[in-house]
Amino acid sequence: MNKELSELDRRLLNDFQQDFPLSPTPYADIARDLGVTEAEVLARLAALRNDGTVSRVGAVVRPNTIGVSTLAAMAVPPERLESVAALVSGYTEVNHNYEREHRLNLWFVATAPDAARLQAVLDEIAVRTGHEVLSFPLVEDYHIDLGFDLRI
């Protein structure tokens, strides 16, 4: 998984995390900045997406602006983790799901159009798995996301 990026890939990923051009031809604008062709930029972004280096190139939306979300956690016996994790990931409302080293070993983010639907999803997961679902909704956000510096 640990890969070395070419200089072009590194700049594509590092320099355009927040200022992707809002112009009619953004890829051509980036290409001009980097001294390559538009076709090259499109091909590299496709390759980086296909091999999983970049999750997507798009808009990062402030939490809880469209829909309501929460971070939820469950303590699942190790022998049941696979099946419970698969059940949780099966919900379209769940967009992130991580295994973590802790008694609370399954952590996921669920998002729904409104609070009632969100609670219904958490309740249903608890009933279907037989395990309590703890909810940690965001109270206040202290970080302004400017992207992540890949050089650190």
Binding site: Q18, D19, F136
Partner: protein, 174 residues
């Protein structure tokens, strides 16, 4: 940054600032912008809007902080940042905002949130996500946070992720 004040607004204040078309636009871009020479035109066509309207709406949502940024969302794991530690802290409520903002400004913290405690097992009310190339790097960064909190650190732990089981863009079942 100029829109910092807007970003810190509570969700209830932001909701009226976007309309149904903005929501459709956010939905349409969550899996990523189309990799075609004129991506905003492609989205516009899909939604029955003009490309100018699409760009103006995205620009306005950026300015108001509804969209944080438009750009590449790298996969930390694939890039070698394989240690992902969710550090969680028990901090006195009256100092939470002041200290949370300081931690949120650290360049190695990718997310920093006040979230509720769940007594008795979960006394932690501040969550800060720390990425590193290995656990030693994460631990060094967590020690920096502990030093910054000083006596306000009433206890903390780090939950390392061992597997990403699912990671997609935001999808709202409308």
């Amino acid at each position: 940054m100029s829109n910092a004040a807007a970003i810190r607004r509570e969700p209830a204040d932001i909701a009226p600032l976007i309309d149904a078309t903005d929501r459709r636009l956010i939905q349409a871009t969550q899996e990523g912008l189309p990799r075609v020479p004129r991506p905003y035109h492609a989205i516009a066509e899909q939604l029955g809007l003009s490309a100018e309207d699409v760009m103006a709406r995205l620009r306005r949502m950026l300015e108001t902080g509804i969209i944080r940024r438009i750009g590449a969302v790298p996969n930390h794991y694939a890039l070698g940042y394989q240690a992902n530690g969710m550090s969680v802290w028990d901090v006195p409520e009256e100092r939470l905002r002041e200290l949370g903002r300081k931690i949120g400004e650290l360049d190695f913290v990718s997310h920093c949130y006040h979230r509720p405690r769940h007594f008795p097992d979960w006394p932690y009310n501040l969550f800060a996500m720390v990425h590193g190339r290995d656990r030693a790097q994460v631990e060094a960064k967590v020690a920096q946070i502990a030093a910054l909190l000083g006596a306000a650190d009433h206890g903390h732990t780090v939950l390392y992720s061992t597997r990403i089981l699912k990671k997609t863009g935001l999808r709202i079942g409308l």
